[in-house]
Symmetry: C2
């Protein structure tokens, strides 16, 4: 409990009591409540004095003169940091729920978001991992008609993408065979990062008359694997209505909107992934969050990792008075699950 130099043990306990109580009720907490709530037997008057101090130090706030106190962002921050310190690990029965429908990646991720939302009662998001470093397993080109090719790209982890490529030249069986051969002798085992300009030039040269087709196909592959906008799956957005402090202010509307557009959620993903401290859990409280419309919320994120540095993000968005303890525990479990599922599939 000796994380903070500004607060003695008693103040810390009182602060904790205020926060916990506020998490439960959502109402400002008064001194009398605390004096009954804690095990340290103090009268409300004493608590009042201490609370006045805590307010001076900026850990709690009085919404108006004669109201109880609510935690400030700084207060929440301290509380969360303390929680983080005692890393918990506990495996729930989420595994079964998860594995049920594990088929294609998008389904898994969608399912993950849902499980998390149901388990926590907050809004959740899961981003697909970035594929830059994922290796190609093979490419299968098939001819659709005289000028169209469908390219099926299979990557490690059996992630499958497909794309139709329209080419100028008139295609035939022979060309298709050649192209398939060409691509599959050099590309498998490479990641998108590794397929650079030199490599492309070499392939084009080998292709001879079909240089242009190869170019088109490679472009298509690039844009397919690395789509301009990350895919993000969400669930439980409507959970925000459950918290009056969000749904009263209209901030629920903004959050739901952000969830629908998904554009802004990307911000959160980028920010989370950019932090060095990965594979850990991050908590953004109030204004700390990257997205303006969530300034009245807390955002808890975690990074999951598939082999070879492919990373994705899981996030939970809820009111500041979030049940951090439960959320962090659940998040950790799910993260581990995702890691395992993907590694097993590989």
């Amino acid at each position: 409990m000796e994380l903070n130099h500004e607060l003695d043990d008693r103040k810390l306990k009182i602060l904790q009591a205020v926060i916990k109580n506020y998490l439960e009720t959502g109402e400002p907490v008064g001194s009398r409540t605390i004096s009954k709530y804690t095990d340290l037997n103090l009268s409300s008057a004493t608590i009042r004095n201490e609370m006045a101090d805590l307010e001076d130090l900026g850990y709690i706030i009085q919404p108006h003169t004669s109201a109880g106190r609510i935690p400030s962002d700084k207060g929440y921050r301290l509380y969360v940091d303390m929680l983080m310190a005692e890393k918990e690990q506990e495996v729930i029965e989420m595994r079964e729920q998860m594995l049920e429908k594990a088929d294609k990646m998008d389904k898994i991720l969608k399912q993950a978001a849902k499980v998390l939302a149901v388990n926590t009662n907050y809004a959740t998001m899961v981003s697909a991992p970035n594929m830059n470093r994922n290796k190609l397993k093979f490419i299968q080109l098939s001819q659709v008609d005289e000028h169209q090719i469908i390219a099926v790209i299979v990557m490690e982890g059996n992630i499958i993408k497909n794309k139709i490529v329209t080419v100028e030249e008139t295609l035939n069986n022979e060309i298709m065979l050649k192209l398939n051969m060409l691509l599959n002798t050099s590309l498998p085992g490479m990641s998108i990062e590794e397929i650079n300009l030199g490599m492309i030039a070499a392939l084009k040269e080998q292709a001879g008359a079909q240089a242009e087709i190869i170019g088109d196909v490679l472009n298509a592959i690039g844009s397919t694997i690395q789509p301009e906008d990350l895919e993000i799956y969400t669930s439980g957005a409507t959970n925000v209505f459950k918290y009056p402090e969000l749904s009263d202010n209209h901030s629920a509307q903004e959050i739901i909107n952000a969830f629908e557009e998904k554009q802004m959620l990307q911000e959160i993903v980028t920010q989370t992934l950019s932090k060095d401290d990965n594979h850990g859990i991050q908590v953004y409280i109030g204004n700390e969050t990257p997205v303006q419309s969530m300034k009245d919320c807390s955002v808890v994120t975690a990074t999951y990792e598939l082999g070879e540095g492919m990373q994705g993000t899981i996030g939970i968005i809820g009111p500041k008075r979030m049940d951090y303890e439960h959320v962090m525990k659940t998040l950790k479990t799910l993260m581990t699950e995702l890691d395992e599922i993907f590694h097993k599939e590989e």
Copy 2:
């Protein structure tokens, strides 16, 4: 204007005025307002008499004794029916917007929903067409590893699906060749409906030792093309917040929830497609809607058709005081667009 036997021309005009005004303001409409609003020069007193009649006949309602009138469901119904009678056609600049990103089907549909939402300011949904009658173009099986096959299924309209099939037997090149050959000699040109048990049995027989694999693959194909839950794309769900009569009652919350779950939207799709009167526009007002949580809304739907009886649904959900005229016009345009896009691609 002679659609209704119950109402003379003047009553009809007054009713229309009441509805139009209510559509604009969302507030109950009084007699004085109408007397100024219409071109028939009548005093408020006369209007009052007529309005009392209209109320007796059930076309308008008084929320409380000394308030103006608002249209009843019956009133809206008459109004919409009149609109429907004058089938409008008008091409807007939506074409460009639509064709911009026309790539894969899911993107097209997602885009369609978005365009519609932006154009109308209501919540929108677009369902993917049912594929029962769509014909297979070809199937491409590739071996992933010793026990896994990836099946890529290409259908008319270049709709592509893929699925990983895990099989008992140990696979090799020879087997894969045989399977590909087998499937592509008999299946192309057939629709899912046409691939019946007899056909499957015949294929299995021809496959000999690989009968089981063929069975698995065919199953996979079936379930891929005809997923248990229809895919539905939505957009602009948060538009419902723009209408106080929805967002005050909490019915906005329910609607948004329905949009998130998508389960209930399916109801609307099914109902729309089951109506004989297809390729037309349907309007559900208030309790007429198939989904309970939208009882305070109007739902406008349209069916778009890809060749061969593959049909999908477009829907708009908004307040009862919806701008029916604009919505129906926009819907019709979009419908035509979709038809064209898909037919062109084919």
